[in-house]
């Protein structure tokens, strides 16, 4: 089974120039933890997750401090949100994010998601966004591919 067989054929995405504050609103209303960032013709150029936005909002020095000394100064964070909230997604997105080709096997995709510890990734055809896959779909696809019906307890027939 290929990634293209199990992905959600949904093209919801952010523009490179979408601001971080706008991105928060879009992640919320689309009920998702991250979205692909595409250029003017739909080519995937990165991925912006809630983690990327958090990283942008939390002052850098907190990352270097010992946990016990990591009490954040709310004013510091507020001023940072003010400063970077209108910055474009392209400045904070993960540029070398995992992107699957629709012809990639589900098994390869499963291993990649595990190694990079990511939840979801865009799927492309010749670089253009054609869908998105998440761990749940990958896992269902893997079980569907590698087990006979009844061999394991997941109802395989419900896989897409």
């Amino acid at each position: 089974m290929l990634v293209g067989d199990i992905m959600d054929r949904d093209l919801t995405s952010l523009a490179e120039e979408t601001s971080l504050l706008e991105a928060i609103s879009l992640l919320t209303i689309h009920d998702t933890s991250g979205l692909p960032v595409v250029n003017g013709v739909g080519r995937v150029v990165g991925f912006l997750s809630e983690k990327d936005i958090l990283r942008a909002f939390i002052p850098g020095y907190l990352g270097y401090m010992d946990e016990n000394f990591s009490m954040p100064d709310i004013e510091n964070i507020k001023s940072r949100v003010k400063r970077v909230g209108r910055d474009p997604a392209r400045d904070y997105m993960t540029k070398d994010s995992i992107i699957f080709d629709e012809e990639e096997t589900v098994t390869n995709a499963m291993v990649t998601l595990f190694k990079r510890d990511i939840k979801r990734a865009p799927v492309v055809r010749e670089g253009m966004l054609v869908g998105i896959v998440d761990r749940e779909e990958i896992l269902r696809g893997f079980v569907h591919d590698n087990f006979e019906e009844g061999e394991v307890d997941i109802p395989i027939s419900s896989a897409k």
Binding site: D8, D10, L11, S13, A15, V38, G40, V41, G42
Partner: protein, 309 residues
């Protein structure tokens, strides 16, 4: 790749009862739920005809999630703008004995300006991959009345064929942008460009007027079984046989889906009309949303009665 635009998608809930009269309680004999709205229906029918499409528009609330999930599970690509509120539920009650259908629809969610801007941002990014664009139906509150005109303008700038099926001011304004094909549903529209659509002469008059402005195809429904086609090769009246019609809900969408497939496959004018009308016949007779198969459409295409007028 074909793009469909449904500004006001819906969940269609169809109940069948032996009889239906206002003021009484009934237990439905049968309930069918399906995603609906002009473009959504076209996407579903295109898939049944073997064509991929991207369904776009505005989604809201639980109904919006249902519409999106249903489309994705049918293998249709989605690129909707999510907005606050709740998409429409269109309720249809079929009186099986009398063969009469009653419908109650909603306005739809209030769509904010930024969602409309985002829609056009999405559209611009899909257009480089589009081979045709269809748009239609009603506009939800908040979407400007010139929405279709702006969409047609943007599509035409890319030299992509564009199909419009709407009514009222939204349709009149869309026509100003000169789409490739305009569908006017005679059953729901009383006037277009201040011409009353009460006789065949009136339909011909309005079609001719729009054709002269620069629209290549104008299709107007003429009673339940016929459509009048105004084309670059003159007027045609096409009629289908309907033995046991189930519902006319997606008839217009079937016609547009068929006409788009005909164009993709470079069919001639008469063959395009036959194919489109056969899609209507199969959809009107099909108990499920859309039509049974492309093979069924091809079988009955030869039975479409066409007269040049």
């Amino acid at each position: 790749m074909i793009v469909t635009i449904t500004p006001n998608p819906a969940m269609d809930e169809a109940y069948s009862t032996d009889e239906f009269r206002p003021g009484r309680w009934y237990r439905a004999k049968d309930v069918a739920r399906a995603p609906g709205g002009r473009g959504v229906n076209v996407s579903i029918i295109l898939k049944q005809l073997g064509y991929d499409s991207v369904a776009t528009g505005f989604l809201a609330g639980h109904t919006g999630e249902y519409i999106k999930d249903e489309l994705l599970s049918r293998g249709i690509t989605t690129n909707f703008v999510n907005t606050k509120g709740e998409n429409r539920t269109n309720t249809f009650i079929k009186d099986v004995t009398g063969g009469i259908e009653t419908a109650v629809t909603e306005d739809g969610p209030i769509v904010a300006d930024d969602a409309v801007k985002r829609f056009f941002w999405n559209l611009e990014r899909i257009l480089p991959r589009a081979t045709a664009v269809q748009m239609g139906g009603s506009l939800p509150p908040g979407v400007p009345v010139d929405f279709f005109r702006e969409a047609v303008d943007r599509v035409k700038k890319k030299n992509i064929p564009v199909y419009v099926d709407s009514s009222g001011d939204a349709l009149d304004m869309a026509i100003e942008a000169l789409p490739t094909l305009v569908k006017i549903d005679h059953r729901f529209v009383n006037t277009v460009r201040n011409i009353t659509l009460s006789t065949l002469d009136h339909l011909i008059e309005i079609s001719k007027k729009i054709f002269d402005e620069g629209v290549d195809w104008i299709v107007t429904s003429y009673f339940n079984r016929s459509n009048l086609f105004c084309t670059t090769k003159g007027f045609y009246m096409a009629e289908i046989k309907l033995d046991n019609p189930v519902t006319y809900r997606a008839a217009s969408d079937a016609l547009l889906a068929g006409m788009m497939v005909a164009r993709e496959e470079r069919m001639g004018i008469e063959d395009s009309i036959r194919f489109g009308m056969s899609c209507v016949r199969q959809t009107v007779m099909c108990p499920q949303k859309g039509l049974p198969s492309r093979a069924a459409v091809e079988i009955t295409a030869g039975e479409v009665n066409i007269q040049k007028i």
